[in-house]
Amino acid sequence: MATPRWLDWPVFRQLTGPDRLGRGAAAVSRETESLRPRVATADKVSKSICPYCAVGCGQNVYVQDGRVTHIEGDPDSPVSRGRLCPKGSASLQLTTGSSRRHEVLYRRPYGTEWEPLDLETAMDMVAERVIRTRRENWQEEVDGSRTRRTLGIASLGGATLDNEENYLIKKLFTALGIVQVENQARVCHSSTVAGLGTSFGRGGGTTYLQDLQHSDCIIIEGSNFAEAHPVGFQWVMEAKARGATVIHVDPRFSRTSALADLYVPIRAGTDIAFLGGIINHVLSTGKYFHDYVVNYTNAAMLVHEDFQDTEDLDGLFGGFDREDGTYDVDSWQYEGVRVASAAGKRSVDEPRHPGRDMQSSGHPESHGFGGPALHGEPLRDETLQHPRCVFQVLRRHYARYTPEMVEQVCGIPREKFLRVCEEITSNSGRDRTTAFAYAVGWTQHSVGAQYIRAASILQLLLGNIGRPGGGILALRGHASIQGSSDIPTLFDLLPGYIPMPHAHLHEDLNHFISSDAADKGYWANMRAYVVSLLKAWWGPAATEENDYCFDYLPRLTGGHSTYDTVMAQRDGICRGYFLLGENPAVGSANSRMQRLGMANLDWLVVRDFSLIESATWWQDGPEIETGELRSTEIGTEVFFFPAAAHIEKSGSFTNTNRLLQWKHQAKEPDGEARSDMWFIYHLGRRIRERLAGSTEPMDRPILDLTWDYPLEGTLGDPNAEAVLAEINGWDAEGRPLSGYDDIRDDGSTSCGCWIYCGVYQDGVNQAARRRPHREQNWTGSEWGWAWPQNRRTLYSRASADPEGRPWSERKALVWWDEEAGRWTGHDSIDFIADRPPSYRPAPEARGVEAISGVDPFIMQADGKGWLYTPAGLVDGPLPTHYEPQESPFPNLLYPQQRNPVRLANSREDNRYQPSGDEPGAEVYPYVVTTYRLTEHFTAGGMTRWQPYLAELQPEFFCEVSPELAEERGLEHHGWATIVTARNAIEARVVVTDRMTPLFVQGRTVHQIGMPYHWGPNGYTTGDSANELSSITLDPNAHIQEVKAWTADIRPGRRPRGAALRRYVEDYRRRAGVTETTGTEA
C-alpha cells in the first residue's frame, strides 16, 4: 500500500521528526531523495588517455546508451593518479561539445563558400588527386642518383594521433614516394633528439615524471612546467614536499616560478652562456663527480690533434667553410678513430654536395636511438691531464664563461647565479641527485640542439644521468609527440630512428648499413632492424635478392622539413598537402608565409575537429583582410574531413616518459567523422585499387605494400591491435617477437619499429596493461609499456659504481647480484642483464659483445656519455653561446655573432632584422618570447573552441613590465601593436611585475611575453603571435627559433586592411632591412 501523501509533506516530517527547524532531514525533496551521480548508471567505463599534452593522464570514459556521459581522471594511473588539468577536465566538452564538425566540406577552386560533399566521393576525389599529382611530379632521379619520389605532395601532423596511425601514414606515404612527411615533433622537440641522442645514445628523456619525486634539486629551465604539464608537476611538488629545492630559470615569472624556491630571470636566448657558466664553475671548483666522469663519460678520450676550438678561432670551430656555410667535421674526431659518415664527408662514396646537402637532410635526428658510429679504438688518458683529452678541452672551452660574463650576457646577478651553482653542486654526488626538466624553451632556437647538449654535459659532470632523482626530462607537449618521433612522421627518419636513405650516399642496402652502423653496441645490428622493417612493409616481395626492396624507399637529397615544404609550396614545387591534426596557420613560425604557401597549392586536405585557421584562410584569413589575396583568385581546392576524437578509436599514445599507453574505443564517431587510421587505410586501399594492374615501376612499392588489416565495427576501422602487432614484429612462424634481441637480418623476422619490439610480447598488448599504481612500486612497470624493453630509467647501469654497487644506499636503483649472476633492483636495468661489471670485451669483439661491464651508454659507439661530441652534430662538438638570429646585443663571448651554420633563408616574406651593433637594430629594440598557458593548447584547435577553456583565458595578450609600459606608454588592459619585419599584430596589454627588465651589457633590456595559442577562428579569437616570427632553423634538426626574437611595441591597435602591410614596410625601411640583413655566416 502506498504511503499516504501527507506523510511525505515536509512540515509533517518537521513536526514529527528530529529536525524541528526544518533545515535538514525534514527538508529533503523528492528529487534529492532519488539523486544519483550519472556515472553510477553508466553501461561501461572505457579506459583512455588524455589527448592534450604528453603527461599522458589516465581517463575513465563513462558511456550510457551509446553516449559518452562523463570523462574524468583514472585513479589507477601511476603517472597522473586520477588527476586532470583544466584541458583534460574539459575533455567531455572537447569530444561531445557543439564545436565539433561531423560533415565533410568542400571548397572548389576559386570558390567563396564551403559546399557539402559526401564522404565516399571526397575519398575518391582525394585518391584521384594523389595519383595525379604524384604522377605529374615524379622524380625518378636527381643529379643522376635514383630518388624515386615526389615532392609534389606533403603531409603535416601526427603528434596528436595514435602510434598506429602514424605508422600507417609513414608506411603509405613512403610507399607512394612522398618524403615531405612531417609532424609537430619537427617544430617542438626535434633538437631534443639530436641533443640527447648524441650525448647519451637515445633521443628520449633519460628519466620519467614519477622519478622526479626522488630529486634533491630540480632545475626547470626552458619550460613552463606547471602551466604546460600541470598534472606532471605533481611530482615536482612531491619532491618539494620531501625537501627538494626547485629552481625556475625563465625570461618570465610564470605559474611555475610561483611554486619554485628560487626564480632566476634570464634574457631569452642566452641559456648556453648560463649553463656554460655552471659547467665552468663545476670544473674550476672541482665539484664534478670524479669517479663517474672518468668511468662513464668520454672525459678521458683524446681529441684529434688537428682540432681547433672556438678559443682559437674567435668563436668558430675548425673546419668552417665560409662559402658553403658548413663545417667539415673531420678534425673534431677522437685520436685513433675513423669517423662514420653520419655527420659528414668521409663515407665510402663522396657525396656530390657534401656539406650543406648532408647537413640539411637532418641526419643528427637519427641519433634518437643509437649515437653516431665510430670505427677504431680511441686513445684514453685516465688521469684526465693530457691537454687534448676531452676533459681539458672542455675546461679550456668554458673558461671564459665566468659569473661576470653570465651577468653581462644573461642579465642574471652574480649572487643569484652562484646560488644556483651552489644548489646544483651541493645536491649532486654519491648521495644526492639533481634533475633538469626542459621543454621548447630550449629546443626552439637556432642552436637548439646545443642547449640540450649543454645540460647533458653538466649532468654528466655531476654524475646525475641514469640515477634516481637525476636525469634530464624532456617535457613533451603533445599526447603522442614522442611516439610520432619514434614511429616518425618525419622526413629524415624511418621507424626506430633509422635514417631515411640519402640519394647520393645510400645507393644500396650495403652502403646504407656500412655508412651508418656502428662496430660496437646495439647499433651494430642496424642491418637486422632495417631488413625487418622492409619485411614488415613489403612482406613476401622483400627478398635477399632484391635487397629487401630497399630501392622502394624514396631518397632524400637535402632538407624536406615542414619549413622547406612551405618554401616548396611558395615555389610551386609542392602541389598537394595533407594537414592531419596540425594548424600551421597559427602554430608554425611565420604563419603568413604558411598561408601564402597553401594559397599556391592545387589541393589541400584538412582533418580536424573544427574549422581551424588552416582550413579557412582562403575565405576569411588575414591576407583576405589586407587585400593581398582574394578568394576568387585562389585556385586551391580544399577538403575538410571531420576527425574522430581520442575516445572514438583504439590505439596507443607514447607519453613524455617514453611510455606507451593504450586507449580503448568508447564509442564510434558520429556522422562522417573518422579516425585517421580509417582515413589513411581507406585512402591507401582506394589508391591501390585504382593502380591495380599498373606495370609502371613507380607503382610497384604501393602495389607490393602489405596493406591488409582486419576491419572492425560498423565503419570498417582497421584493427589497431593488428597494426601494433606488426609494429612489434613476428618471426618466420608468425610468433610475436619478445624484444629487439630477437630481430634477425636474414629476412626471417619482420618488425615495423625495432625500438617498440616487445610491446606485443607473447601476443599480449603490453601497452594496455593497467595494474594500479597502489599495487606496485613507483616505477609502475606493469602499467603500459615503455621503450626500450619496458625500462623506465635510461642508462641505469650508471646508478651503480664500476663494481656494480649503488653509489649510495640513498640513491640505489639497480645493482649487481654476484650470487645470481644478474643485475637486480627496483627497475629493469638498461643494460645486458647478465653482464658482470668486471666484463671486458676482447679486442676483436663486435656489436653487443663489445659493450664492457662499465659502459652504461649501450647505444653509444664507445659506451660512454659524451661530454664532447666527436661526431653527430653539424654545428660543433661543444655548446657555444651565440646570439639568436635577432638580438639587441652583440655576442660578448666571441666576435662570431650567430650560429655560423644556422639555416637562414631571407625571402620577401621572411626578412630578418638587424642585430646587436648593426644600424637599424634599435628599430626593433625588445626581446620577444612565446609560451603556453595552462588553459590553452598549442595552436588552439582543441581549446579555443571550448567555452569552458575559452572563458578562462578569453583574449590574446602580451605581458610587459611596468617599466616597459612607461617607456612606451602602454596601458594595462589596453591594446598594443607588436611589429617585426614579418608582420604586425595587436594584443591586449597585461602590465605585470612578473616581467622583469634585465641589466645586460651596461643597459636595461625589456622582454615581451606572448602566448601563441590564438588565431582568428574559434570561440575566443585574437591575432597569432607566430605572424611575427621568422623561419630561422637549427641546422641539426630544422627547428625554428621562436623563443627569442626582437620586435617593437607601441600602444594602440594595429592598422587594418592594406595599411597593415605598409606599416610593416615602413618599419623595414626605417631599420634598413634588405635581402642580406641577418644572413651573414
Binding site: G24, G88, A226
Partner: protein, 325 residues
C-alpha cells in the same frame, strides 16, 4: 543539540539538522601554498555539474578571468601578484589603500596595493624592498581556489523560506533546485557573497560539494581533478588535523605567513566545512576577515520579541486585573 542553533561550535551539525546516524562531516581543505592556478577545479566543476559558461571577459586582474564565485562559477581561483619574498617573516599587513570590506563584499581578487586594474608602477628603479637592481625579483604570485564554505551555521539556509536549502547528512549545505522559487533571500544572507541567482531562471545556485558523488563514495569533481592536491576532500576533523600540521611545517620552512582561515569552530560561522590555508590576510584574497553568520542574533531577536510580547500581554492582563480590582 547545542543550546543556540544559530551560532557557536556544533560538532554534530548533521545530527542537529535531524539526520539520524549521520556519517562524519565532510569538507574541503584548500591548501593554497601548493596551488598552481591551473583552474582544473573550475572546469571539472563545470563539466560535472553542467554549469553554463559565463562570459569571455579579460578582467585585467592577473590571470583571474572568472572574477568571483557566482551562480555559474562554483569554484574560483584568485590570483594575487605581490612584491614580497615567499619565504620570510609574516609580511607587513597594513594593506594601505585597500578597502577590504568593499572588496570582500564584491568577492573579488584584490591586488596588494589596491586600485585594480591599474598596474603597479615602482616608485624608484629596481625591484624589491631592498632597492635591488634590475634582474632582482622578490615576487609572490598567490593563487587560491575559493568555494562555498559550507558553514556550520549557514545563514543562507536559515533564511530560506521554502526548504530548498538544506543541510545534508554529510554536514554540507545544498540547494534543491526542484524546490527553489528564486526568492533570493539567501543571496544577501551569505557572509561570503557566495550564493547567487541565475538571471535566466532566478534560482539560486552554488557548490553542492558534489552531493551526488559524495553519496556514492566518490570525491567531489574539483578535489578529484586538482593536480597538486591543493584541494583536499575528506572528513572535516581529519582535514583540520592535517591542516594544522601543514601550517606547522610551513612555519618550520620559514614561510611565516602561513595561516588557516575558516578552520575555527569558535569563529562567527561556527567554522567552515570548506576551509583554507592562506599565505596572507584573507582580504588579500577577497575573503572577509571576520565573517559572522547573519542569522546569529536571530534567537536573541526572537527572545526580545518574546519579552516584548510577554510585556504587552502582561500589560493587557494587568489592565484587566486592575479594572476588576
Amino acid at each position: 543539540m547545542p543550546t543556540n542553533q544559530f551560532s557557536g561550535p556544533d560538532p554534530h551539525v548533521a545530527a542537529s539538522a535531524g539526520h539520524r546516524d549521520a556519517p562524519p562531516r565532510y569538507g574541503f581543505f584548500t591548501d593554497t601554498s601548493v596551488c598552481i592556478g591551473c583552474k582544473a577545479c573550475e572546469v571539472a566543476c563545470k563539466e560535472w555539474n553542467a554549469i553554463p559558461e559565463d562570459g569571455l571577459e579579460l578582467t585585467g586582474m592577473s590571470f583571474d578571468n572568472t572574477g568571483r564565485l557566482g551562480a555559474d562559477s562554483w569554484r574560483h581561483v584568485a590570483f594575487v601578484e605581490q612584491r614580497k619574498p615567499l619565504v620570510g617573516p609574516p609580511p607587513d599587513e597594513s594593506h594601505r589603500g585597500v578597502d577590504a570590506l568593499a572588496a570582500a563584499a564584491q568577492g573579488v581578487t584584490v591586488p596588494e596595493q589596491g586600485g585594480w586594474p591599474a598596474p603597479l608602477v615602482p616608485e624608484q628603479p629596481g625591484r624589491g624592498g631592498d632597492g635591488g637592481s634590475a634582474g632582482d625579483t622578490d615576487l609572490r604570485w598567490l593563487m587560491a581556489s575559493d568555494v562555498c564554505k559550507h558553514c556550520t551555521h549557514a545563514a543562507c539556509l536559515d533564511v530560506c523560506p521554502t526548504g530548498s536549502l538544506f543541510r545534508t547528512e554529510f554536514g554540507t549545505v545544498v540547494v534543491q533546485e526542484d524546490i527553489c522559487n528564486g526568492c533570493g533571500y539567501c543571496v544577501p544572507a551569505c557572509p561570503y557573497g557566495v550564493i547567487d541567482q541565475r538571471p535566466d531562471d532566478g534560482r539560486a545556485w552554488k557548490c553542492t560539494l558534489c552531493y551526488d558523488r559524495v553519496g556514492v563514495g566518490m570525491e567531489p569533481a574539483c578535489a578529484k581533478a586538482c593536480p597538486t592536491d591543493s584541494i583536499q576532500f575528506g572528513e572535516l576533523d581529519e582535514l583540520r588535523e592535517r591542516a594544522a600540521a601543514r601550517v606547522e611545517q610551513l612555519h618550520g620552512d620559514g614561510v611565516g605567513s602561513a595561516r588557516l582561515y575558516g578552520h575555527d569552530p569558535e569563529d562567527g560561522v561556527g567554522g567552515d566545512g570548506a576551509f583554507f590555508l592562506l599565505l596572507d590576510e584573507p582580504e588579500v584574497y577577497g575573503l572577509p576577515p571576520d565573517p559572522v553568520v547573519t542569522t546569529r542574533d536571530l534567537p536573541r531577536m526572537w527572545a526580545h520579541v518574546g519579552v516584548a510580547a510577554a510585556t504587552m500581554l502582561g500589560g493587557l492582563a494587568a489592565m484587566f486585573v486592575g479594572r476588576r480590582s
